[in-house]
Every structure is written in structure tokens, then in C-alpha cells.
Amino acid sequence: MTPDRRTTVATSSSTPTPSRAPGQAPAIELDHVSRWYGNVVAVNDISFSLGPGVTGLLGPNGAGKSTLLHMLAGLLRPSAGRLTVAGEPAWRNPSLYRRIGLVPEREAVHAFLTGFEFARMNARLQRLPDPDAAAAQAIRTVDLESAAHRQIGTYSKGMRQRAKIAGALVHEPTILLLDEPFNGMDPRQRLHMIALLRAMAAEGRTILFSSHILEEVERLADEVLVIHAGRLAASGDFRQIRRLMTDRPHTFRIRSSDDRALAAALVAQSAVFGVELSDGRLIARIGDYGAFTAALAGTAKRAAVSLYEVAPTDDSLESVFAYLVRR
């Protein structure tokens, strides 16, 4: 059910975006899924489908991200709707875990196991033919080799996160679900993890991770799902989403050889709502993104002005998110 107030945001999320291979069954599919606890609705009528690649699940705390991920991991039963992972329902389906890996948000791990032992335990429980090798490989992948033989109880928060991720990777799942995976990681570890996840996605895996930190999502995700108060507020490429919000003016920052002259020329156009001159820059607020960008070069030329810099100032995920969340 699309949010009805601002129909300018495209949320027909059952159509796969072009980056997914057409005709392939989606790895994750939700159809009007809801989950409530008594009177509290944690997930409210959400539908989308995902295929290979990295998707970010973005939303403030309490939005329902963890609930959604746990339903996908077969740990919660949907109160309504249909939820399938790799074509099968996730609830009460232990055999599906061969293909899914979950990295939960909660910090708790078996503290008395070493990192390697934890990974190996996961490998053994996954019925892998060579658990030791798989565990060693997973430890290597998350860059935990130096501490692999210390007890997890002695680990820092970031190391613990990596141990959890190693545990989820041992069986090379085709679908990986991560709940706030970058919690506690320092920037270097984060970059490493981002690179790892991108590499895995390039191999054809489906990766869904949740976060409330916008920079991470911006950097890692091909697509985003914005979830707020249990509802899906938007989905797709966030730049595309931004473009679809036509009732909100875009803002461009322009540096040119003659700001004032350019400003006068721009104001004459219907696509332009307003201009401001400040501090060596021209700020233009525009309505129709496409029309403006197409006409800008011509306008400048006719006004005999050279353009030095044209940059959108609010094309960040942050502004998109802020807008969506404020609704």
C-alpha cells in the first residue's frame, strides 16, 4: 500500500529496479507483511522484493528494522502477509538456514569461545564438510586472524562484531542479513567491511543491512529501503528518490563568472523558484530538475556567463531521509 499523502514518491516497490537481473525470482519477497505486538504495530503493511546486490534498510530507532530482519531470518512470525526468502517462507523452516546468514544486533556471543571456535561452531552446525577450513577462511575474511585464538570475552566491540560476521559467513550464504553491522567499528574496520560486502554482492549475493547512520548507507548500498514507524517510506536509488520529490525544490550551488547576470537569466525561467546571491555563490531553488539541468548550459551561454561549478546541495541521503522522516 503506497503512502497516500505524497504520491510523488514512487513506492511501487514490487517492480525490480534495472540493476537486478530481470526474470529471476527475487531472493527476498515481502507481500503486505505486518507484525504487531498487541496494540503496537512494529511493521505495517510492507511490500518489496530484493535481488542480488546490497540494499540498505534505513530508518530511525524504533522504525521496525530489526523486526523486519528477524522476520526474514525466520525468528519472528509475520502477523499478516506473505514473506518468502529464496522462494520459501522463512518461519519454521530450519533447512533454509543453509542459505541465509544473520548477524544480529545484540552484542551477546558465547564469551568463553575463541573467535575461531565460534566460527567453527557455526560451521559445524551448518553441516559443512570441512568446518575448520571454513572457519579459518571466515576469520581471514573479516581480518580477525591475530585475535582468533583469544576468548571473545576479551574482544573489543568492533572485534566482536567481526566475530559475529565471521560466524554468519562460514557457510557462504546467498542471502546475508545484517542488523546494524557497523556498530562499534572504527573507520578502518568499517571501510574494510564495506569493501567485503561489496565484493560479496558482486558475486551475486543478496545483502540486506540495516542502519541509522546515513553515511554508511550512502557509501555501501546500491538501493535503500527507508522505513519509518513501521511503514515503508521509500525504496530505490536514493538519488532517484530525491528526483521524484518534485514538490520539494532542489537546491543548486553555482559558481560562475557573473553570478548576478546569471541570476537574472535564471529567474526568468519557470523551472526556477528562486535565486539567492551570497558570498561568491549563486543558490538556485528549482522545481523541475530535468528541465533545469537541460536548460542551464544554454541559459548561461546566452547570458555570456561561464560556469565554474554546479553542485546540488541537498542531494544527500541525509536530506532525503530527513524529508521522508519528517512527514
Binding site: 528494522k65 528477524h70 533447512s95 544486533e105 558465547h110 557455526n122 553441516r127
Partner: protein, 239 residues
Amino acid sequence: MTIFITLVDVTLRGLVGRRRTVLLVLLAMLPIGLALLARLGGEAPDAAAALDALVVRIVLPLIALVFGTAALGAEIEDGTAVYLLTKPIARLHIVVAKVVVAALLTAALVAPSALATGLLMGGGDEGLAATLAVTPAVIIGSLLYAAAFVAVSVVTTRALVIGLVYVVIWEGILAGILVGTRIFSIREAVLGFAGVLAPDAWEGGLEAAQAVGLALVVVIGGVALGARRLAVHEIRGGD
């Protein structure tokens, strides 16, 4: 099979090697200490009565309670159960492994306690018979209590208190007053099994057939209930 061993290994390591184990060992040694005291004092008490009062009524249920509710309950409570549940293994395997570990640990503490206490108490042939009869009985009792308490720990986080209420009120008080409830009391079954091996020393427990019946019901029922509830166990996210 490796699955089973892995589960047993991780459960074992989680239960042992903590403060709680030290305290439980002390508890198991309490009857031995008292028996020692008795011998030094030169008295020759009734071995069966002492074993009943100390080991069967106190040490066995308390130790079984702690291990039984912690085997799976502790992992559910602190959030590490998710790593066992998100694996392609039947929930039944998990429950069976937990019950086995809890039973083994309990028996490992209680059986030597019963044996040593009984031998120290002496009491001649009769005392020896009583001791040798009650030791296997408490091993069976460990299994029964473990199955029951693991099952309860899947259903509720307050399994320890509920188990306590069962032991103190149901087994302790009610079984004395309402004779019919004896057939639902694990303690009576343990006494019954001891009575099978040494009828003179251990009167008053359940009949052999009743004891076996209760044992089967508790073990099979407990494991089945635990597995079923674990299959629909929900883990909420933090969000």
C-alpha cells in the same frame, strides 16, 4: 553426530567453569560432610533416611534445577540462543543435547554425593543396600528433572522459580497431603526406582510400573514439548 557433539560441547562449556559450578559442588559435598561428621561422632544413623532427606530431597532437585534451567534458559536470556536457532538443525536435536548435558552434569555431582554419603554412613548390609539402590535412582532422577526443567525453560524465563515452586510445594507439601498427586512427583519416582532395587530400605515410593510410566512420560513429554516450543520460539530484535 558432529552436530550433537558440537551442541553438547558448547552447552557444557557454557554451564561449567563458573561461580555457580563451584557453589553446586559445595552443595553436593554437604551431605558428605555431614556424613563425615556423623562417623566422627560415632553415631550410626539411618543411612536411608539421611540419604532421602539430604540427597533426594535437597541436593538432587536443587542441582538439577540450576543446570536444567540454565542449559537452554541462560542462552535464551542472554541472547546467544540465536546462533543455535539459525542453523539447519532440528529443534529436537537442540533440546535433546541440552537435556543430556544437564542430566549428565547433575548426575556427575549427585551420584558420587549419594554414594559417598551412603558409604560413609555405613549401616551394615542394609545401609549398603540402600546406598547402592539410591545411586542409580538419582541418576535416573537427574534425567527426569533435566527433561522437565529444560522444557519449562523454553516456555518461560522464570523457569527457576517455577521449578522451585514445583519442588517445594508440589513435591514437598502436596504429595504429602494429597496422596493421589504422588504419581506426578519425580521425587516419588526416584524413591520408587530405589525401592525396586532395595525394597526393604526404600519403601514408600511409587510402584515400579508407575515409576517407569512417569519416567517415560516426563522424558518423552518434556523433550517433545521443549522441541515444539523451541520451533515456534520468537526472538525479537532490539529495534
